[in-house]
């Protein structure tokens, strides 16, 4: 992704300058025509709405009321003092801080076990990947049953070993962790498949060289070969995992509606509530700008790290 300069194709070289430039003009016109639908749609569905959301963030626009006024930074000031919003930011942070690292390291560990194992490779891959291909809203419902405090299998199992299970999704002390478990369950397979691809791409000779060079233990070989060679994959997996964790919405909307007691209020759910339920579009737009800013910061961090890494050949 580092290379963002389009490589222009060599046009045919004609002897005469005029013939050449007319051919070039023709080529440019064709290119414009081919790109026009994409450019128009990008403008209407991405560029314009982004500018609109930034603008709306400075207004008191509410759906259902006709007019609106520019209120400057008032929305942002309100955000700072808004307990729900601060809670929501914090919850999103906690959720991402659990789901991203756990799903990354779990996936890496499982990928290395699968890679080292001869049999059952495709079975294990399928098993761990299945949640990625499943409708999350539907599977969240299943998890709700699994987590059910009285009739749920999880607490039933805990009861077998004499532990009184918590009210997973129903208590404000555990709800975020329960959601994080679902999030991890859903993300691991995706990361695992990427890590498996990364592992397969490591040249076997490097492991042989490491052995000959005296790397006796599996840990030495991991440090010397696997971990550094997986660098680009790990960076990518990390970025995707963090961004997806920040975007958590489906499970919250389906299972908890932000509750109990705002303990599972997360960023996108708060934006949804403000914008589409209370219809305070201006205020929700300001929140959206904060959300976008978080994504941009994450992207910049990724680019920075990527630039520091060498491009292996």
């Amino acid at each position: 992704m580092a290379e963002i300069v389009a490589t222009p194709s060599q046009g045919q070289t004609f002897g005469k300058v005029s013939a050449r430039s007319s051919a070039a003009r023709h080529e440019a016109r064709t290119a414009w025509l081919l790109a026009a639908p994409a450019i128009l749609l990008t403008f209407f569905f991405i560029v314009l709405p982004v500018f609109a959301v930034i603008t709306l963030g400075f207004t008191d626009f509410e759906l259902g009321y006709s007019g609106f006024q520019f209120v400057g930074a008032e929305n942002y000031l309100e955000l700072f003092g808004d307990r729900t919003f601060r809670q929501s930011l914090w919850n999103t942070f906690v959720y991402a801080a659990i789901v991203a690292p756990v799903s990354i390291f779990l996936a890496l560990g499982l990928a290395m076990l699968i890679e080292a194992e001869g049999i059952g490779r495709s079975f294990f891959r399928t098993a761990y990947f299945l949640p990625v291909a499943s409708l999350l809203v539907a599977m969240a419902t299943v998890w709700q049953y699994l987590f059910h405090p009285s009739i749920g299998p999880i607490n039933a199992m805990l009861a077998l070993v004499g532990i009184q299970g918590p009210n997973w999704l129903g208590a404000s002390s555990t709800v975020l962790y329960s959601l994080a478990i679902i999030g991890i369950w859903q993300t691991v397979g995706f990361n695992l498949v990427l890590f498996l691809a990364g592992l397969t791409a490591i040249p076997r000779d490097l492991y042989a060289a490491a052995e000959v060079d005296g790397a006796r233990s599996a840990w030495d070989r991991f440090r010397l070969v696997t971990w550094p060679m997986l660098g680009p994959t790990t960076l990518f997996v990390t970025t995707i995992s963090v961004i997806n964790a920040v975007k958590v919405f489906e499970t919250v909307k389906t299972l908890t509606e932000g509750g109990p007691n705002k303990a599972s209020e997360v960023l996108l759910f708060t934006i949804y509530q403000e914008g589409f339920v209370y219809l305070r579009v201006g205020y929700a737009s300001a929140m959206t700008v904060v959300f976008l800013a978080i994504l941009i910061v994450l992207m910049i961090v990724q680019y920075r790290i990527q630039d520091q890494q060498v491009h292996y050949t």
Partner: protein
């Protein structure tokens, strides 16, 4: 690195992997089991997987009667299909122009694409919702499909793919007298199937599962997509009728899971390709 014998290390490895797989598959196992249980059965013995009374038919019938599953599935397929077709038809010519034709805007467009990759539907939903509301287009297939007709990710993916195709292929096609549209249709697309498949899988998985946008623009059950429909079903069911709920869940999860199980290799390739290129 494959060992032939069952060494202790290998047994441990297999044990860990198998236990993990069991945990990851547990929700499916309980989903299927519970979908076949009667209400009383669910409340008394949650750990036994085999239903005491065979209740599959009743639960499925209930699921089918409360919410029109056929409509849901039909909407899901239609919306995903429309989105995919538009995305591909819009993205491929654009990516081709950026990769293989010389024009001045190519560089600016590249920057636009990279920025566009950052912007999810959640960021543009508010103004789009206001706009759709103003033109009275809420509760329609148009509202469900239109914002996704452009996929910058698609452009990016195809762009990467086209760049690796040799220029000589296109030059040869031009010498053979093909127009640019002809080149796209007869040279580029036939050679781009791996990228198109990968993108199709990515797109369908994303939009089949998307709840956010349908939730915003659709309030009429007739246009509900599967995730939204399931939300309605839960609301309508309210109580703890997990048997019917699991049956509905099973019906709605099944299509994509079946597609995945049938075309596993393509799925994994697709995810790997779309993933690592990004």
């Amino acid at each position: 690195m494959t060992s032939n014998g069952f060494t202790p290390a290998r047994v441990a490895r297999l044990a860990v992997l198998s236990f993990g797989a069991l945990v990851f598959l547990a929700p499916y196992i309980f989903m299927i089991s519970t979908a076949g249980k009667a209400q009383s059965d669910i409340f008394t013995s949650s750990l036994s997987l085999i239903p005491q009374q065979w209740f599959f038919f009743e639960n499925f019938a209930k699921a089918w009667s409360r919410v029109s599953m056929t409509t849901l599935l039909f909407n899901g397929v239609l919306v995903c299909l429309l989105i995919l077709v538009f995305q591909v038809v819009v993205a491929i010519p654009c990516a081709y122009a950026m990769a293989k034709l010389k024009f001045r805007a190519a560089r600016a467009m590249m920057v636009l694409v990279m920025l566009g990759l950052l912007v999810p539907i959640h960021a543009t939903a508010l103004p789009l919702y206001v706009a759709f509301d103003r033109v009275g287009a809420l509760n329609s297939y148009v509202a469900l499909v239109a914002p996704f007709t452009i996929s910058v990710f698609g452009i990016f993916l195809f762009l990467q793919f086209f760049r690796s195709m040799p220029d000589d292929l296109i030059h040869a096609a031009r010498l053979d007298g093909m127009s640019e549209i002809g080149i796209i249709a007869r040279v580029i697309v036939p050679n781009a199937w791996p990228a198109i498949t990968a993108f199709a899988i990515f797109s369908v998985v994303a939009h089949w599962n998307d709840l956010y946008w349908p939730l915003i623009v659709v309030s009429n059950q007739a246009y509900a997509t599967p995730p939204l429909g399931l939300l309605y079903f839960r609301a309508a069911e309210a109580g703890d009728d997990y048997g019917a709920l699991m049956a509905a869940t099973l019906i709605i999860t099944f299509p994509l899971v079946a597609a995945f199980l049938l075309a596993q290799k393509r799925f994994v390739e697709g995810i790997t390709m779309t993933g690592l290129k990004g």
